[in-house]
Symmetry: C2
Subunit: 278 residues, 2 copies
Amino acid sequence: MGEDARVSADAGTHPFDADTAVRRLGDGRFAATISRNWDTPAGPNGGYSLATVVRALGQALPHPDPFAVSATFLRPVDHGDAEVVTEVVRSGRRLSVGEARLVQAGTERVRVVATFADLDAMGGPTRDLSVAPQMPDPDRCLLPAEPELAPTEGAPFTIGQRFDYRMPVALGFARGEPSGRTEFDLWMRFREPRDPDTWSMPSFVDGAPPAVMEIGELASTTVELTLHVRRRPAPGWLAMHIATRHVIGGYHEEDVDVWDSTGHLVAQSRQLALLPLR
Amino acid sequence: MGEDARVSADAGTHPFDADTAVRRLGDGRFAATISRNWDTPAGPNGGYSLATVVRALGQALPHPDPFAVSATFLRPVDHGDAEVVTEVVRSGRRLSVGEARLVQAGTERVRVVATFADLDAMGGPTRDLSVAPQMPDPDRCLLPAEPELAPTEGAPFTIGQRFDYRMPVALGFARGEPSGRTEFDLWMRFREPRDPDTWSMPSFVDGAPPAVMEIGELASTTVELTLHVRRRPAPGWLAMHIATRHVIGGYHEEDVDVWDSTGHLVAQSRQLALLPLR
């Protein structure tokens, strides 16, 4: 996995850090700017918007790591100016809890409740009950085919330029032949060099190709996304396990487990999302 | 599964309905009483408290079914008087979103954000990508051994009297021999006859025996619980699939999938919880 020396680069200059930056306005309010660098065909990626909200909460709460984050997506997030309005709900010794609202043009777009912790000061027992995805090293995996990076012709899809993906087997949707297999593994990292950290987990879990692509669905709208960050990730690639097991009345869950380059689970997410209505 | 004719009994007289009842006070506030009928050794079961909050939200929001519910547990819930303070966050055609705070003695105990929907008016496609747990019928399964109903000597454990459980294989912890197998299936229903519905899902998913019992842990404290109710359950038993795959620094997730008596998935939950510190 060492073909590219990841650097924990000057954080301020990486697009993720620049595009999720927030500026304190006082009274728990923060200014943010929603960039065009993380777009899906439907607009700014939800995980990117959420990462911006989480950074504001990180400035409002005393603990260093987002630990359990639940986001309810109320209305589409637009490019441009945004305000994140935070509230400290509880500040304890081990955990703190905050709430945040992403507001644009006077309208709330996303509501987030997040518990923060210090992942270096957990103290309790660890039991290995599960193993990381078994994949060849990233340099022995497949690069994504071009259609995956631009699934909708003419539509902006800038988030495809933000991440590197490596697949152990070709995903069917890239060849126009969805496999029906809605559970798969792949490697993922930022394309512009930057190691993963707890702050970038919202963007990684929602930036992975959705499993419903393998049943011919190219996009869905997130209703609710919960992320549990369980460990601080080691430098290098992330191994993503992606699964959708139930499509019911147009809604599906998407579960993502994230493992770091040392084979440790670092995050789990589940979202409930709505397929496009036809 | 028909050895006991479930009746959708006079809802008002069933302990679940009586104990989760709320009374509108005005301005989005509701009065509730936290009962002693749903106690674990550590106090009122979190799923029961959450079900009470969800009932209040159901009175505040226009849609009939809790659909995506995320609860952050801030402080222990006590027996007795409680107030649920609700806010309508968004009221749309397909979905509505509310927030609620369970307050006792002037202190917030639980914060909930919930999306409501009409499960009978989903409209989109359904794809069967997964199958229900394969278990013998409940009357060919095992009754729980007594120690499961009273794992802590002398402590009240009234929730054990609220539910019937049937196991296809004996769980090790009941014999004092935890199996290490933290993924298992069982049948579950209310002991006092009452069919399952969307309102009771919080109580079912958190009233199931936790998978960490099979690694010798009898209790844990929920930090965050997210529940997605995906279908209206049919009458009869519920098949529960319970799994913990990662215990890290004392924290574990607990995933519960709920299937109804016709073999359809009706709900999924995940919680992040803290094992007792020693």
